[in-house]
């Protein structure tokens, strides 16, 4: 299966210690392309059909009141794109930091199971990493970045 579609696979032919080892085998992603196509067609069909049928059969009455943003029946005050709490930006930044830690831990976890002989070394490495992470985490906590009031 790997070498039949040269466009989608980057396999090393042979020789070298890594004989037959695929650098990047994209064949498993072919079904994902199908699903992507189905899903895009579904989304376009659903929204398009709704729009088309609404034009054909449905009633459309545009009134200024109906077109105005909903504010519990009161007249609209100003624009909705106002300033909002800086907390949301903080959460976004902290998310990037911590999500990268998570992603970093995944290969470590896989290696931990497979490299049985080096487990103590891997364990100490991760302890050091988490210790540094914990210092940053405590700093963020003490500065009140996790506090919502």
């Amino acid at each position: 299966m790997t070498s039949v579609w040269p466009l989608l696979t980057l396999c090393r032919a042979s020789a070298q210690p890594l004989s037959g080892w695929c650098v990047l085998n994209l064949t498993p992603y072919i079904p994902i392309l199908f699903m992507l196509a189905i899903v895009v067609i579904t989304a376009v069909a659903m929204l398009g059909l709704s729009h088309g049928l609404g034009l054909l059969i449905g009633t459309r009455h545009k009134t200024p009141v109906k077109q105005s943003p909903y504010e519990s029946g009161m007249p609209v005050l100003g624009d909705a794109r106002e300033r909002f709490s800086v907390k949301f930006y903080l959460v976004a930044m902290l998310f990037i930091l911590f999500d990268i830690e998570t992603v970093f831990m995944m290969p470590w976890a896989v290696a931990f199971q497979q490299m049985v002989a080096d487990r103590l070394f891997l364990l100490v490495e991760m302890l050091v990493f988490v210790f540094i992470l914990a210092i940053g985490y405590l700093y963020v906590w003490k500065r009140g970045a996790l506090q919502w009031d």
Binding site: T27, F88, R119
Partner: protein
């Protein structure tokens, strides 16, 4: 193209179409299920007009939403307003592709079609649309894409409720994604592979080798994060109707609203499937090795078992909706950032040390012994978390501790 590749593509097309149809039907009927369960729990009559027992209700709802008038509010960014529900829907629907739902399907054919040529398939095909080498990282990666739909929809509506709902939803989903990512790392530690197929096969090795036992705290964090990721009660902050009307989809009508709903329900289905696969053995039938032998009967039986397990979690989502009140927003963020993240990190290290001890000095030979020892390691952690640290404050929710005199039953006069 060789006949083998053509056979693979043909099988892939059939499986994709089947999974897509099944997902759409399941999602449509889970909306009905939700309304049935709601009516049952509130002791009232649920939907019963469209068809026998209201069985055609999802179809009626779909048709109604197709014909509804679309309202796009003034000042809304039209492009993003239309794209947002589509993103939400598409991202949700391509996630469950990689989850195996049954034992491998035996499939042998060698046929020649008039124009297309020869198709060959030998051996068994896995009962999932595709087996990706990145395994469940695909699920984690694509589930982040769904955030774009909600954030864009909230922002594009030009409505203050929508904007706040979208912001809250984004912050919440992003926060719990970290917790969820941390909670699956112990699974990697134990299995040593990201592939779903491997994860399921590890859990088939013994009667008690479902990962929910040796990784109990991970399972708990994953389930709670899953509720938060899908914006379900008790974490339905983005749609808190008493504060934000309907949150990010306040301004949405007709099929665009349906698209958001389908996205949300598909999210629930995905989380249920993920939990079953990661922690409850996937399609494994416990206490028997009969299901691993292969053959068509096994495929049907294992698919049924997987479906039942998944339905239980769908039911749990709806059960909890009518059981627990909503969190406050600061409590929600504190639970994610101050409790689950440090707890997840500490648990990863704990499991790593436990694994090193079990495989090294303790020298457990069999899988059953390894998992049993790991479960023993979990008992002090569970006691620590639920009895000592929690003390009935958070996990048991808003229990009010009445004074002794108040809890005495009233005497009949």
């Amino acid at each position: 193209m060789t006949p083998e590749l053509k056979g693979f593509v043909l099988v892939a097309v059939v499986k994709t179409a089947a999974v897509f149809t099944f997902l759409m039907l399941l999602v449509a009927y889970s909306t009905l299920l939700e309304r049935w369960i709601a009516s049952w729990m509130q002791d009232r009559i649920g939907p019963n007009r469209a068809g026998p027992k209201g069985l055609f209700q999802p179809i009626a709802d779909g048709l109604k939403n197709l014909l509804k008038e679309e309202v796009i509010p003034d000042g809304a960014n039209k492009v993003f307003f239309v794209i947002a529900p589509a993103i939400s829907l598409m991202a949700a629907l391509i996630i469950p592709l990689t989850i195996p739902w049954a034992a491998p399907i035996p499939l042998e054919f060698d046929m020649t079609l008039p124009v297309l040529g020869r198709f060959v398939h030998h051996g068994a095909t896995p009962a999932t649309v595709t087996v990706l080498p990145i395994g469940f990282l695909w699920v984690l990666a694509i589930s982040s894409v769904g955030v774009y739909g909600i954030a864009l929809g909230g922002w594009a509506s030009n409505n203050k409720y929508s904007l706040l709902g979208g912001l809250r939803a984004t912050a919440q989903m992003v926060s719990y994604e970290v917790a969820m990512g941390l909670s699956v790392i112990p699974v990697l530690l134990l299995v040593g592979n990201v592939s779903f197929v491997e994860i399921v096969s590890v859990q088939q090795q013994g009667p008690f080798s479902w990962l929910a036992l040796p990784l109990a705290l991970s399972a708990f964090i994953f389930l709670v994060s899953g509720f938060a990721e899908t914006n379900r009660v008790p974490f339905d902050m983005p749609e808190a109707e008493s504060e934000l009307v309907a949150g990010y989809h306040t301004e949405y009508s007709a099929m665009k609203f349906s698209a958001f709903m389908i996205g949300e329900f598909t999210g629930m289905v995905t989380i249920s499937m993920m939990f079953v696969t990661l922690f409850l053995g996937g399609w494994d039938i416990p206490f028997t090795h009969w299901d691993e032998a292969g053959g068509m009967l096994q495929v049907v039986a294992t698919a049924g078992v997987f479906f039942v397990k998944m339905l239980f979690f769908l039911f749990l989502f709806m059960w909890i909706r009518w059981t627990l009140p909503r969190f406050r927003y600061d409590q929600l963020m504190a639970l994610g950032w101050k409790i689950f993240i440090p707890m997840g990190l500490a648990y990863i290290l704990y499991i790593a040390v436990a694994l090193w001890l079990v495989d090294g000095p303790l020298g457990a030979a069999s899988t059953a012994l390894r998992f049993g020892l790991l479960f023993l390691f979990n008992i002090p952690v569970l006691v620590l978390v639920f009895r000592v640290l929690d003390r009935g404050r958070l996990i048991r929710g808003v229990s009010v501790h009445l004074p002794a005199s108040a809890s005495r039953p009233a005497r009949a006069v």
